[in-house]
Symmetry: C2
Subunit: 320 residues, 2 copies
């Protein structure tokens, strides 16, 4: 990912360092902790927070701390997600539940969550605390709503958007919002523009994620292709394909949802594509990118505006 | 459990009500949430907090809120524990992981944790926030240490006490401490006496729990007998029995640890008893009850002192 301003790359490294430097006196915990943080992901959420808080460089330590807390919260959700989805790999390496057990995944996830809360409380900023704790609760809400939808065939586009917002958009939103609060506590316009921009970017990010799950190159993602489908999760490409299909196609699609039968991935993807599932998902993606851009354009700080517009481009084009 | 002052019973009902009144707008979440809170346990932790905070009756709303938060935190750990231990029943009813799935257990646990944090932040008391977030982190630390000990044969008494403190004593300690901070922020002696009393009571509570797991009447507990043993967890009765055993007994004991073979429960319990496992656990229990009592006696408020001494009696004598 290319950034306009290179200083953010340096700051992201400091954030990673801040996380890695947390030393745990118990061997088993240190081992799991190090394993989890030896590879880092795109770090988009801490980045959003760093960019949003950049107008106040005097608060650099606090800025880095908030970014680290956000990355910890995000990581805890990923570790629990991998248990829930029984995922064997993440970012190209074995998950905790694969390499150790589900129990390790549940407990180290709890450890990281509560660590994030401890650090958060050290910030002593009630507004930021409030936003982050609400966002954390909303993420689990999104995951639970999604779990409740598994096996259902009449999922609506409204359901899908709601899940995308809670499980992904919400933490994107909180990331930028907390950064913005730190830098410009009294500038409601700045805070609102950053929050909304980031919320829609997060939803778009999830839509793209769901699209990439139906791509033949999904292996680049470091996780198995068609994972959502095999878990019985209806996501955007499948939803649109199902909506556009005739009785025969519908029967086929529903038969492969959550099925352990091994159809050829390429055959399934071809079918979804043929039924317009990819094209319509791309249109939806474009509409959320556009919403995101519309708020980014309202940001009066030019440097931040350009950086954020750059991120929407990246999120739209990414192939992994 | 008999209390000296009946008003606490009324307050505990209000705490349960406070928890039950939390309405969630998503059906699946409401369903899981209601299921979890339809039965309540001993409510010892919220009770400790209510008693410790009782000197300041003007803060009743806040007192109830803290007690509710503590019960939420405790419940979240139980729900995750049941996933980790693959427990089928708790308090005599099916666990979430049994009645739904592990995924439901992980996610509703996260939901309840983050709910507790949201309510906590609403208290706007940094000292209480700090204590509760640290205690939550310590609980997961205790669970992880215990997980790391599974399969090990050279567990020390020091390891066992550490696990008992982190996974049980720590939240007991935080419960009384937060109550004490609320009532007498500047009275360090009061806060210390309450914290220490409660910490040792919690460790004693865990020792008794481990003892009850080796009782033939364990069904009263609402969970299977010899659950720890079958999970490969060395707890106090097994630890002492192993320590006292000759080569032949040692071989037998290690062969049943974590084994799926079905020996008769009564035979195993008889063996552990014969080897002094129960007697020595009882002695250890007595020593922690004594530590707890020694701090209770230092509490200058007579009503609170008597209530706490009463609780140590209950914890020592309980059969479920």
């Amino acid at each position: 990912m290319k950034l306009k301003n290179n200083s953010y790359k340096k700051e992201l490294k400091l954030v990673s360092q801040l996380i890695k430097n947390e030393i745990v006196d118990e061997k088993i915990i240190q081992q799991l902790y190090d394993y989890i943080f030896k590879s880092s992901g795109k770090q988009l959420r801490p980045l959003l927070s760093l960019i949003a808080s950049s107008p106040d460089k005097r608060k650099t330590r606090k800025r880095l701390k908030i970014a680290a807390i956000i990355e910890l919260l995000h990581t805890a959700t990923l570790v629990h997600d991998d248990v829930v989805d029984e995922s064997p790999t993440r970012r190209g390496i074995d998950t905790i539940n694969k390499n150790w057990t589900n129990s390790h995944g549940v407990l180290i996830g709890d450890f990281i969550y509560s660590k994030a809360f401890m650090l958060m409380i050290g910030l002593s900023d009630m507004e930021i605390l409030d936003e982050l704790s609400k966002a954390t609760n909303d993420i689990s809400k999104g995951e639970l709503i999604q779990l409740g939808l598994i096996g259902k065939k009449d999922v609506s586009i409204h359901d899908l958007i709601k899940v995308s917002y809670f499980k992904t958009g919400r933490l994107f939103e909180a990331s930028a919002k907390c950064g913005a609060i730190l830098a410009k506590k009294d500038n409601k316009t700045y805070i609102n523009n950053l929050s909304n921009f980031s919320k829609y970017l997060g939803i778009a990010f999830q839509i793209k994620d769901d699209m990439l799950d139906y791509s033949l190159n999904a292996k680049q993602l470091g996780k198995p292709t068609l994972q959502d489908l095999s878990e019985g999760k209806i996501t955007y490409p499948f939803y649109f394909a199902l909506k556009n299909s005739n009785i025969k196609d519908k029967k086929f699609l529903l038969s492969i949802l959550g099925s352990k039968k091994h159809y050829k991935n390429s055959k399934i993807i071809e079918k979804i594509e043929l039924l317009g599932g990819i094209k319509q998902t791309e249109e939806l993606l474009k509409s959320y990118i556009a919403k995101s851009v519309s708020f980014a354009k309202k940001i009066d700080n030019e440097q931040i505006r350009e950086e954020m517009l750059n991120l929407t481009q990246f999120s739209y084009n990414r192939t992994k």
